[in-house]
Amino acid sequence: MAKIIVVTSGKGGVGKTTTSAAISSGIAMRGHKTVVIDFDIGLRNLDIIMNCERRVVYDFVNVINGEANLRQALIKDKRAENLYILPASQTRDKDALTVEGVERILNELAADGFEYIICDSPAGIEHGAFMAMYFADMAIVVANPEVSSVRDSDRILGILQSKSRRAENGERVEECLLLTRYNPERVAKGEMLGVQDVEEILATKLLGVIPESETVLKASNQGIPVIHDIESPAGQAYSDAVSRLLGEEVEHRFMSVEQKGLFKRLFRRSA
């Protein structure tokens, strides 16, 4: 049985694509056959973050329309053994995604032995975002510690629990929060919402905190998902998040200014 995970946020530019690339790479590197699908029709970006933009021949919409089969459209990642990318189309209109079409592709992927299907959602709460979340078993809600992002996250959580297929069947979508672009220095100065604040407001299980890091831009410049940068705090934080996603208990890191100081011990909490 494949597990379908949507990476969503409501607000744009908070780090969904960065997260989808990192998390899918991380899961694949742990030995699970994984596919990451770009649902941002018309604005594809996952391909360039994963350095496969020159290998795109067919896309998601081509497969839905029967113009290509999955085997032709899936791009095998050059870094992670078990990872495949299904790119979004660049030109078609976004209504090309239909519930039936998306369902058929997801079923085919599951039948093909994919264990994890990661759906990189576009921003907003329109058709594309809805399609990305509709079939999800689990949602990673990406938020930045900032008022509009947190508010939008709450809206997305509401939509997930009312409009998704699971919700329609009276079940819950498993949801978790990934707080990205976190700056512990600014939190300490009272200039930025802290993890506890956001957790308290959204009342959602914390998957991880990804610090604001220069290495994220460096990684995207080169088309290497940041999780491959094992020296980088962001890479390590994503790696921890993958462990938690796979059921391991890993303590949260990168949440305070000093890694080993008293500060950390004071603020450490089991989330």
């Binding site: 008022v147 947190v150 508010r151 509401g158 009272g190 200039e191 930025m192 919402l193 407001i201 959204l202």
Partner: protein, 84 residues
């Protein structure tokens, strides 16, 4: 409120302000979200019935649905005009 409290609240950091604002807006929006679709129409029809007897404005009739565990309470608040 002492003068010290005043200075303390005046110096409240921006993250605390953000948190307070978010708590209020999120609570409000969650409340809106759980409202059944028929509520606006119900409010309109109630208003029409009331108007047969009393002259009230739209904003003088407030309909609110609150969920308490497994039962919901429909609260109707009508502000009647001043008696003359």
């Amino acid at each position: 409120m002492s003068i010290f409290d005043y200075f303390r609240s005046a110096k409240k950091d921006t993250a605390s302000i953000a948190k307070e604002r978010l708590q209020i807006i999120v609570a409000h929006e969650r409340n809106q979200r759980n409202k059944p679709d028929y509520l606006p129409k119900l409010q309109q029809e109630l208003l029409e019935v009331i108007r047969k007897y009393v002259d009230v404005d739209q904003d003088q009739v407030e309909v609110q649905l609150d969920n308490n565990g497994n039962c919901s309470v429909l609260e109707l608040n009508i502000t009647l005009p001043d008696r003359v």
